[in-house]
């Protein structure tokens, strides 16, 4: 279990969840990145930026 960094809701983590996985908070809809498993940690997922070039 881990707490959503945006709304504080409790999120369940599956046994096979892995670091770097992106999950969505069912309460507030925030996209979160799993940054640790022991102990479970999440933070707001990377933002998408627009850019030009290749």
């Amino acid at each position: 279990m881990v707490e959503c960094t945006e709304c504080g809701a409790t999120l369940a983590m599956n046994e096979d969840t892995e670091v770097g996985e992106l999950i969505t908070c069912g309460d507030c809809g925030a996209d979160l990145e799993v940054t640790g498993m022991t102990p479970p940690m999440v933070q707001l997922a990377p933002q998408e930026e627009e850019d030009w070039g290749e």
Binding site: D16, E18, G20, L22, P46, E50, D51, W52, G53, E54
Partner: protein, 371 residues
């Protein structure tokens, strides 16, 4: 010492060093269609890293490092746009055409492949230095059916802490209108140039209907490439060339139908169609990048770009987890001050090394099986 630390140490002790390899690549100026110098330079330099490249039937530089079951394609390009930038160092900065687009990313690919395979026998890394990416992408088109990787990374400058998930599509229009000559005082008769400008104004109206405020990635972008007219006394011919950048989800048939309907009888030719691409971001490959960037002290971001890259070509064909990644600031692409920095180059190679190791570990008890 843990395998990751061993691999990163191997990376830091490469001879020649990564920046020296890149400096040699930059010195071997290789605009599209003339990549011979950089191919020869890499064939001479890479054996020092135990990479033994060859060229495939179309002229891409290719090499495979490792013989393990986890196949990762690292697809860069070793051609550049034209315009020689004198190769020089200024502190940590290394200047030269291709420093970011995209010899820097390909040099980082080579270094990371060697470092990761030195400690991880489950890896098999295909290094593909494509030709013609700055042109018609013949190199990537040729390579696509010859590889069946489990994961693929396209080498373009995202910046060492960012991962590129999408590129817009592209298509070019050539519109040609011909009319008989008429006296210029005849206000009733339009000539070919009149019609072409009317057509252009109609295109502008279509374009404005498909523009999303503050979002170039989701907007249709349109830019005139050339406008020419010729009058030989019997008739006038006007030719307009237009470049369109196509956002994901846009139905290009709608554009083509509009042009056919409102083109005032002009001849229309379409060419250079590349589909837009946006890859899935919740994949083992992206997870490995996020973890690797954070492990290197970075804060990861995702990018979607308005240009095109070989990701547009390879992603629909390979249908495996893919991203574009590479050290360097893409705002320096194609500029006369193109340069990278040694810390940026090094961090890119370190992130890539960690990513390769993470992908291999998924094959063992340390990770999950491939999706």
């Amino acid at each position: 010492m843990a395998p990751t630390e061993q691999a990163l140490q191997a990376l830091s002790t490469l001879q020649p060093s990564l920046d020296v390899l890149l400096e040699g690549m930059l010195t071997a100026y290789s605009p599209t269609g003339e990549i011979g110098p950089v191919v020869e330079q890499l064939r001479a330099a890479l054996p020092s890293w135990s990479i033994h490249p060859s060229t495939d039937d179309i002229g891409n530089l290719v090499a495979t490092v490792g013989q393990g079951p986890v196949q990762v394609a690292l697809v860069g390009h070793i051609d550049t746009v034209r315009g020689q930038v004198p190769v020089r160092r200024d502190g940590d900065r290394l200047f030269g055409r291709g420093a970011v687009d995209a010899k820097g990313p390909f040099a980082a690919f080579c270094a990371a492949a060697v470092a990761a395979v030195s400690v991880e026998p489950r890896l098999q890394v295909h290094l593909i230095g494509c030709k013609d990416e700055e042109g018609p992408s013949h190199g990537a088109r040729f390579a696509a059916p010859h590889y069946h990787p489990h994961y693929a990374i396209v080498g373009e400058p995202s910046g060492s802490a960012a991962v590129t998930l999408g590129y817009k599509g592209t298509i070019k229009l050539t519109y040609t209108r011909r009319t008989d000559s008429a006296h210029s005082s005849n206000g009733e008769a339009s000539n070919a140039l009149d019609d072409t400008l009317t057509f252009w104004n109609r295109l502008l109206a279509f374009h404005s209907e498909h523009t999303v405020p503050d979002s170039a990635f989701t907007s249709l972008q349109m830019r005139p490439l050339s406008l020419q007219s010729v009058d030989d006394g019997m008739g006038m011919e006007a030719t307009l060339r237009v470049d369109f950048r196509i956002p994901p989800g846009f139905d290009v048939l709608k554009l083509q139908t509009f042009v056919a309907r409102y083109g005032l009888g002009g001849e229309v030719r379409w060419e250079g169609w590349e589909e837009p691409v946006v890859v899935e971001k919740n994949t083992p490959l992206v997870r490995a990048f996020l973890a690797a960037i954070r492990a290197e002290g970075g804060t990861p971001t995702f990018k979607k770009k308005t240009g095109t890259a070989d990701l547009n070509i390879l992603s629909p064909r390979w249908a495996v987890p893919m991203v574009a990644y590479g050290p360097g600031d893409s705002h320096l692409d194609h500029t006369p001050t193109e340069h990278t920095t040694i810390p940026e180059l090094t961090m890119g190679a370190r992130v890539l090394t960690r990513v390769l190791l993470q992908l291999a570990q998924r094959e063992s008890g340390q990770g999950r099986a491939r999706p």
